[in-house]
Amino acid sequence: MTVLILTSHQDVTTDMVVAELHERGVPLVRLDPADLPGEAGLSAEYVSGDFHCYLSADGRMVSSKSLRSIWVRRPGEPAAHAPEPSRWLSAETGQALYGALCSTTARWMNHPRQADQARLKPWQLRFAHRSGFAVPPTVITTFPRVAEQFAGQYGKVVVKSLSGPPRGEPAIALPTALVEPGTDFAGVAGGPTLLQRYVPKRADIRLTCVGGRMFAARKVSASGQVDGRYGDTGQVWEPAVVPDRIARAVHDYTGLAGLAYAAFDFAEDAEAVWWFLECNQGGQFGFVELETGQPIAEAVASWLAQEPRGPA
Protein backbone atom coordinates (compact mmCIF):
# COMPACT_ATOMS: atom_id res chain seq x y z
CA MET A 1 0.00 0.00 0.00
CA THR A 2 1.32 3.38 -1.08
CA VAL A 3 1.29 6.86 0.44
CA LEU A 4 0.57 9.67 -2.04
CA ILE A 5 2.08 13.07 -1.24
CA LEU A 6 0.83 16.08 -3.19
CA THR A 7 3.48 18.78 -2.94
CA SER A 8 6.02 20.85 -4.83
CA HIS A 9 9.57 19.63 -5.36
CA GLN A 10 11.19 22.48 -3.40
CA ASP A 11 9.23 21.69 -0.23
CA VAL A 12 11.92 20.39 2.14
CA THR A 13 9.44 20.01 5.00
CA THR A 14 8.00 17.15 2.94
CA ASP A 15 11.51 15.70 2.77
CA MET A 16 11.45 15.28 6.57
CA VAL A 17 8.40 13.01 6.24
CA VAL A 18 9.67 11.22 3.11
CA ALA A 19 12.85 10.25 5.00
CA GLU A 20 10.73 8.81 7.85
CA LEU A 21 8.65 6.79 5.38
CA HIS A 22 11.78 5.53 3.62
CA GLU A 23 13.11 4.38 6.97
CA ARG A 24 9.96 2.33 7.56
CA GLY A 25 10.05 0.92 4.03
CA VAL A 26 6.65 2.43 3.20
CA PRO A 27 6.19 2.94 -0.56
CA LEU A 28 5.34 6.49 -1.55
CA VAL A 29 4.68 8.58 -4.62
CA ARG A 30 5.45 12.30 -4.47
CA LEU A 31 3.50 14.21 -7.08
CA ASP A 32 3.09 17.91 -7.80
CA PRO A 33 -0.31 18.61 -9.42
CA ALA A 34 1.49 21.43 -11.29
CA ASP A 35 3.29 18.69 -13.28
CA LEU A 36 0.00 17.21 -14.50
CA PRO A 37 -0.18 16.75 -17.47
CA GLY A 38 3.50 16.33 -18.30
CA GLU A 39 5.90 14.81 -15.79
CA ALA A 40 2.81 13.39 -14.11
CA GLY A 41 -0.07 11.49 -15.71
CA LEU A 42 -3.47 10.17 -14.75
CA SER A 43 -6.05 7.71 -15.97
CA ALA A 44 -9.40 7.01 -14.30
CA GLU A 45 -11.95 4.55 -15.67
CA TYR A 46 -15.54 3.85 -14.79
CA VAL A 47 -16.72 0.58 -16.25
CA SER A 48 -20.05 -0.95 -15.15
CA GLY A 49 -19.91 0.65 -11.74
CA ASP A 50 -16.30 -0.23 -11.11
CA PHE A 51 -13.83 2.58 -10.65
CA HIS A 52 -10.14 2.35 -11.21
CA CYS A 53 -7.54 5.05 -11.37
CA TYR A 54 -3.80 5.17 -12.05
CA LEU A 55 -1.43 8.00 -11.32
CA SER A 56 2.12 8.30 -12.51
CA ALA A 57 4.90 10.66 -11.47
CA ASP A 58 8.52 10.57 -12.59
CA GLY A 59 8.04 7.05 -13.92
CA ARG A 60 6.38 5.70 -10.73
CA MET A 61 2.85 4.28 -10.99
CA VAL A 62 0.24 3.95 -8.29
CA SER A 63 -3.23 2.48 -8.56
CA SER A 64 -6.19 3.85 -6.59
CA LYS A 65 -6.73 0.36 -5.13
CA SER A 66 -3.33 0.41 -3.49
CA LEU A 67 -3.47 3.92 -1.99
CA ARG A 68 -3.35 3.89 1.77
CA SER A 69 -3.31 7.63 2.41
CA ILE A 70 -3.03 11.02 0.72
CA TRP A 71 -1.13 13.95 2.24
CA VAL A 72 -2.04 17.33 0.76
CA ARG A 73 1.03 19.30 1.75
CA ARG A 74 2.05 22.15 -0.65
CA PRO A 75 0.51 21.12 -3.99
CA GLY A 76 1.11 23.39 -6.94
CA GLU A 77 -1.83 24.69 -8.95
CA PRO A 78 -2.90 21.83 -11.26
CA ALA A 79 -1.32 22.14 -14.72
CA ALA A 80 0.76 25.19 -13.69
CA HIS A 81 3.83 23.73 -15.41
CA ALA A 82 1.99 22.87 -18.66
CA PRO A 83 3.46 24.41 -21.83
CA GLU A 84 0.34 26.56 -22.22
CA PRO A 85 -1.08 27.00 -18.73
CA SER A 86 -4.50 28.59 -18.31
CA ARG A 87 -7.18 28.92 -15.66
CA TRP A 88 -9.32 26.60 -17.73
CA LEU A 89 -6.63 23.91 -17.98
CA SER A 90 -6.05 24.15 -14.22
CA ALA A 91 -9.76 23.71 -13.57
CA GLU A 92 -9.97 20.70 -15.92
CA THR A 93 -6.89 19.12 -14.39
CA GLY A 94 -8.01 19.81 -10.83
CA GLN A 95 -11.38 18.17 -11.53
CA ALA A 96 -9.72 15.10 -12.99
CA LEU A 97 -7.13 14.69 -10.23
CA TYR A 98 -9.09 15.58 -7.09
CA GLY A 99 -12.28 14.05 -8.48
CA ALA A 100 -10.52 10.74 -9.00
CA LEU A 101 -8.74 10.86 -5.64
CA CYS A 102 -11.95 11.72 -3.78
CA SER A 103 -13.42 8.51 -5.23
CA THR A 104 -10.84 6.30 -3.52
CA THR A 105 -10.97 4.82 -0.01
CA ALA A 106 -7.63 6.35 0.97
CA ARG A 107 -7.37 8.31 4.24
CA TRP A 108 -6.73 12.04 3.76
CA MET A 109 -4.56 14.51 5.61
CA ASN A 110 -6.70 16.66 5.03
CA HIS A 111 -9.66 15.96 2.81
CA PRO A 112 -10.12 18.89 0.35
CA ARG A 113 -13.71 19.42 1.48
CA GLN A 114 -12.68 19.81 5.13
CA ALA A 115 -9.64 21.86 4.12
CA ASP A 116 -11.75 24.37 2.19
CA GLN A 117 -14.12 24.84 5.09
CA ALA A 118 -11.34 25.06 7.67
CA ARG A 119 -9.54 27.84 5.77
CA LEU A 120 -12.43 30.24 6.35
CA LYS A 121 -11.42 32.50 9.23
CA PRO A 122 -14.95 33.54 10.22
CA TRP A 123 -15.88 29.85 10.40
CA GLN A 124 -12.77 29.19 12.51
CA LEU A 125 -13.70 31.80 15.09
CA ARG A 126 -17.22 30.45 15.49
CA PHE A 127 -16.08 26.84 15.86
CA ALA A 128 -13.18 27.82 18.12
CA HIS A 129 -15.66 29.39 20.49
CA ARG A 130 -17.89 26.31 20.34
CA SER A 131 -14.90 24.09 21.10
CA GLY A 132 -14.11 25.99 24.28
CA PHE A 133 -11.25 28.28 23.23
CA ALA A 134 -11.00 31.90 24.36
CA VAL A 135 -11.50 33.97 21.19
CA PRO A 136 -10.71 37.72 21.09
CA PRO A 137 -13.57 39.98 19.98
CA THR A 138 -13.35 40.30 16.20
CA VAL A 139 -15.16 42.18 13.45
CA ILE A 140 -15.09 41.66 9.70
CA THR A 141 -16.72 44.56 7.94
CA THR A 142 -16.94 46.74 4.85
CA PHE A 143 -18.52 49.60 6.88
CA PRO A 144 -15.99 52.25 8.00
CA ARG A 145 -18.35 53.33 10.81
CA VAL A 146 -18.50 49.81 12.23
CA ALA A 147 -14.70 49.51 12.13
CA GLU A 148 -14.32 52.87 13.87
CA GLN A 149 -16.80 51.92 16.59
CA PHE A 150 -15.08 48.59 17.15
CA ALA A 151 -11.69 50.25 17.48
CA GLY A 152 -13.19 52.86 19.85
CA GLN A 153 -14.75 50.16 22.00
CA TYR A 154 -11.66 47.97 22.40
CA GLY A 155 -8.94 50.61 22.30
CA LYS A 156 -6.07 48.57 21.00
CA VAL A 157 -6.98 46.57 17.88
CA VAL A 158 -5.03 44.79 15.16
CA VAL A 159 -5.82 44.41 11.47
CA LYS A 160 -5.01 41.25 9.54
CA SER A 161 -5.93 39.70 6.24
CA LEU A 162 -8.50 36.94 5.84
CA SER A 163 -6.79 34.95 3.10
CA GLY A 164 -3.10 35.87 3.43
CA PRO A 165 -0.99 38.13 1.23
CA PRO A 166 -1.63 38.41 -2.51
CA ARG A 167 0.28 35.84 -4.50
CA GLY A 168 2.54 36.77 -7.36
CA GLU A 169 5.04 39.49 -8.04
CA PRO A 170 6.16 41.77 -6.50
CA ALA A 171 6.14 39.82 -3.23
CA ILE A 172 4.13 41.62 -0.57
CA ALA A 173 3.77 40.76 3.09
CA LEU A 174 0.73 41.56 5.20
CA PRO A 175 1.86 41.16 8.80
CA THR A 176 -0.71 41.63 11.53
CA ALA A 177 -0.48 45.30 12.50
CA LEU A 178 -1.64 47.53 15.33
CA VAL A 179 -4.16 50.21 14.29
CA GLU A 180 -3.05 53.56 15.72
CA PRO A 181 -5.58 55.84 17.43
CA GLY A 182 -7.03 58.42 15.04
CA THR A 183 -6.68 56.16 12.00
CA ASP A 184 -8.93 56.94 9.02
CA PHE A 185 -11.13 53.92 8.34
CA ALA A 186 -12.46 55.04 4.92
CA GLY A 187 -10.51 52.24 3.19
CA VAL A 188 -12.64 49.65 5.00
CA ALA A 189 -15.21 50.22 2.23
CA GLY A 190 -12.58 49.04 -0.27
CA GLY A 191 -12.38 45.49 1.05
CA PRO A 192 -13.69 43.35 3.91
CA THR A 193 -11.48 44.21 6.86
CA LEU A 194 -10.77 42.00 9.86
CA LEU A 195 -10.12 43.84 13.12
CA GLN A 196 -9.44 42.05 16.37
CA ARG A 197 -8.85 43.14 19.93
CA TYR A 198 -5.11 43.18 20.59
CA VAL A 199 -4.09 40.50 23.08
CA PRO A 200 -1.34 41.94 25.34
CA LYS A 201 0.80 38.89 25.03
CA ARG A 202 3.88 37.54 26.68
CA ALA A 203 4.31 34.73 24.15
CA ASP A 204 3.17 33.30 20.84
CA ILE A 205 2.09 29.65 20.84
CA ARG A 206 2.07 27.29 17.89
CA LEU A 207 0.28 24.01 18.52
CA THR A 208 0.49 21.29 15.88
CA CYS A 209 -2.03 18.47 16.09
CA VAL A 210 -1.34 15.31 14.07
CA GLY A 211 -4.09 12.70 14.25
CA GLY A 212 -4.69 13.62 17.89
CA ARG A 213 -1.02 13.91 18.92
CA MET A 214 -0.30 17.46 20.08
CA PHE A 215 2.98 19.38 19.94
CA ALA A 216 2.98 22.87 21.44
CA ALA A 217 5.78 25.37 20.99
CA ARG A 218 6.17 28.73 22.69
CA LYS A 219 8.13 31.82 21.75
CA VAL A 220 8.47 34.73 24.15
CA SER A 221 7.28 38.03 22.61
CA ALA A 222 9.44 41.11 22.60
CA SER A 223 7.72 44.06 24.27
CA GLY A 224 5.47 45.85 21.81
CA GLN A 225 5.85 43.11 19.21
CA VAL A 226 2.65 42.43 17.29
CA ASP A 227 3.22 39.78 14.61
CA GLY A 228 5.42 37.08 16.15
CA ARG A 229 6.71 35.99 12.75
CA TYR A 230 8.44 39.23 11.79
CA GLY A 231 11.53 40.83 13.25
CA ASP A 232 14.37 38.91 14.84
CA THR A 233 13.95 39.30 18.60
CA GLY A 234 16.57 36.76 19.61
CA GLN A 235 13.82 34.51 21.03
CA VAL A 236 13.45 30.92 19.85
CA TRP A 237 10.63 28.38 19.79
CA GLU A 238 10.69 26.08 22.80
CA PRO A 239 8.55 23.05 23.63
CA ALA A 240 5.55 23.86 25.84
CA VAL A 241 3.16 21.75 27.89
CA VAL A 242 -0.41 21.68 26.54
CA PRO A 243 -2.90 22.64 29.30
CA ASP A 244 -5.73 20.08 29.68
CA ARG A 245 -8.36 22.64 28.82
CA ILE A 246 -6.58 23.43 25.54
CA ALA A 247 -6.10 19.74 24.72
CA ARG A 248 -9.85 19.16 25.10
CA ALA A 249 -10.66 22.16 22.90
CA VAL A 250 -8.15 21.07 20.23
CA HIS A 251 -9.69 17.61 20.29
CA ASP A 252 -13.20 19.02 19.86
CA TYR A 253 -12.19 21.52 17.19
CA THR A 254 -10.31 19.04 15.01
CA GLY A 255 -13.19 16.60 15.43
CA LEU A 256 -15.81 19.16 14.39
CA ALA A 257 -13.64 20.35 11.53
CA GLY A 258 -12.71 16.83 10.40
CA LEU A 259 -8.99 17.65 10.33
CA ALA A 260 -6.29 14.98 10.60
CA TYR A 261 -3.68 17.76 10.69
CA ALA A 262 -4.00 21.27 12.11
CA ALA A 263 -1.62 24.01 13.29
CA PHE A 264 -3.11 26.48 15.79
CA ASP A 265 -1.83 29.96 16.59
CA PHE A 266 -2.48 31.37 20.06
CA ALA A 267 -1.44 34.50 21.96
CA GLU A 268 -0.60 33.84 25.62
CA ASP A 269 -1.53 36.69 27.97
CA ALA A 270 -0.21 37.58 31.44
CA GLU A 271 -2.78 35.27 33.07
CA ALA A 272 -1.49 32.37 30.94
CA VAL A 273 -4.70 32.25 28.88
CA TRP A 274 -4.12 30.97 25.35
CA TRP A 275 -6.27 33.14 23.05
CA PHE A 276 -7.24 31.43 19.79
CA LEU A 277 -6.01 33.42 16.78
CA GLU A 278 -6.40 30.94 13.95
CA CYS A 279 -6.10 27.32 12.90
CA ASN A 280 -4.08 26.59 9.74
CA GLN A 281 -5.30 23.32 8.29
CA GLY A 282 -2.03 22.87 6.38
CA GLY A 283 0.25 24.97 8.57
CA GLN A 284 4.01 24.78 8.31
CA PHE A 285 5.76 22.66 10.97
CA GLY A 286 9.34 22.54 9.67
CA PHE A 287 10.51 25.50 11.77
CA VAL A 288 8.95 24.07 14.92
CA GLU A 289 10.61 20.69 14.52
CA LEU A 290 13.98 22.24 13.62
CA GLU A 291 13.94 24.58 16.62
CA THR A 292 12.30 22.39 19.30
CA GLY A 293 13.27 18.90 18.17
CA GLN A 294 9.63 17.79 18.52
CA PRO A 295 9.06 14.73 16.29
CA ILE A 296 6.26 16.13 14.14
CA ALA A 297 7.47 14.63 10.85
CA GLU A 298 7.58 11.26 12.59
CA ALA A 299 3.97 11.76 13.73
CA VAL A 300 2.86 12.68 10.19
CA ALA A 301 4.67 9.65 8.75
CA SER A 302 3.09 7.35 11.37
CA TRP A 303 -0.37 8.64 10.55
CA LEU A 304 0.17 8.28 6.80
CA ALA A 305 1.66 4.80 7.18
CA GLN A 306 -1.38 3.30 8.95
CA GLU A 307 -3.15 0.72 6.82
CA PRO A 308 -6.63 1.75 5.67
CA ARG A 309 -9.62 -0.01 7.17
CA GLY A 310 -10.72 -3.05 5.16
CA PRO A 311 -13.71 -2.90 2.79
CA ALA A 312 -16.97 -2.25 4.62
Binding site: R74, V159, G187, Q284
Partner: protein, 63 residues
Protein backbone atom coordinates in the same frame (compact mmCIF):
# COMPACT_ATOMS: atom_id res chain seq x y z
CA UNK B 1 -10.77 52.30 -3.47
CA UNK B 2 -7.59 51.08 -1.80
CA UNK B 3 -8.49 48.42 0.80
CA UNK B 4 -7.74 49.48 4.38
CA UNK B 5 -5.20 46.73 5.02
CA UNK B 6 -2.99 47.95 2.16
CA UNK B 7 -1.90 50.79 4.43
CA UNK B 8 -0.03 48.11 6.40
CA UNK B 9 1.53 46.16 3.50
CA UNK B 10 5.28 45.60 3.44
CA UNK B 11 7.45 44.87 0.45
CA UNK B 12 9.55 41.77 0.83
CA UNK B 13 13.23 42.24 0.20
CA UNK B 14 14.34 40.96 -3.19
CA UNK B 15 13.88 37.49 -4.64
CA UNK B 16 14.59 34.41 -2.54
CA UNK B 17 18.23 33.35 -2.35
CA UNK B 18 18.95 30.34 -4.57
CA UNK B 19 18.98 27.08 -2.61
CA UNK B 20 22.09 24.86 -2.64
CA UNK B 21 20.10 21.65 -3.13
CA UNK B 22 18.04 20.14 -5.95
CA UNK B 23 15.16 17.71 -6.20
CA UNK B 24 16.13 14.15 -7.02
CA UNK B 25 13.23 12.15 -8.43
CA UNK B 26 14.82 8.76 -7.67
CA UNK B 27 15.11 9.57 -3.96
CA UNK B 28 11.98 11.81 -3.98
CA UNK B 29 14.08 14.12 -1.80
CA UNK B 30 16.15 17.28 -2.24
CA UNK B 31 19.86 16.48 -2.27
CA UNK B 32 22.97 18.58 -1.64
CA UNK B 33 25.72 18.61 -4.29
CA UNK B 34 27.61 15.94 -2.29
CA UNK B 35 24.57 13.63 -2.43
CA UNK B 36 23.45 13.99 1.18
CA UNK B 37 19.77 14.83 1.79
CA UNK B 38 19.20 18.58 2.29
CA UNK B 39 17.40 17.83 5.56
CA UNK B 40 20.58 16.37 7.04
CA UNK B 41 21.88 19.95 7.27
CA UNK B 42 19.76 21.48 10.01
CA UNK B 43 21.77 24.71 10.18
CA UNK B 44 21.31 25.25 6.45
CA UNK B 45 17.54 24.82 6.65
CA UNK B 46 17.30 27.21 9.59
CA UNK B 47 19.40 29.77 7.75
CA UNK B 48 17.33 29.55 4.56
CA UNK B 49 14.04 29.76 6.46
CA UNK B 50 12.30 27.74 3.74
CA UNK B 51 10.58 25.92 6.57
CA UNK B 52 9.19 28.96 8.40
CA UNK B 53 5.63 30.12 8.42
CA UNK B 54 6.33 33.31 6.45
CA UNK B 55 8.37 31.63 3.72
CA UNK B 56 5.49 29.66 2.35
CA UNK B 57 2.97 32.45 2.70
CA UNK B 58 3.89 33.95 -0.64
CA UNK B 59 2.84 30.85 -2.48
CA UNK B 60 0.43 29.39 0.00
CA UNK B 61 -2.26 30.64 2.30
CA UNK B 62 -2.01 27.67 4.67
CA UNK B 63 0.78 28.81 6.93
Amino acid sequence: MRPFIWNYAQHNEGPDAPVPYAYNSAAQLNLLPDGRPAISDRELLLALSTTTSTAGSQTHFDD
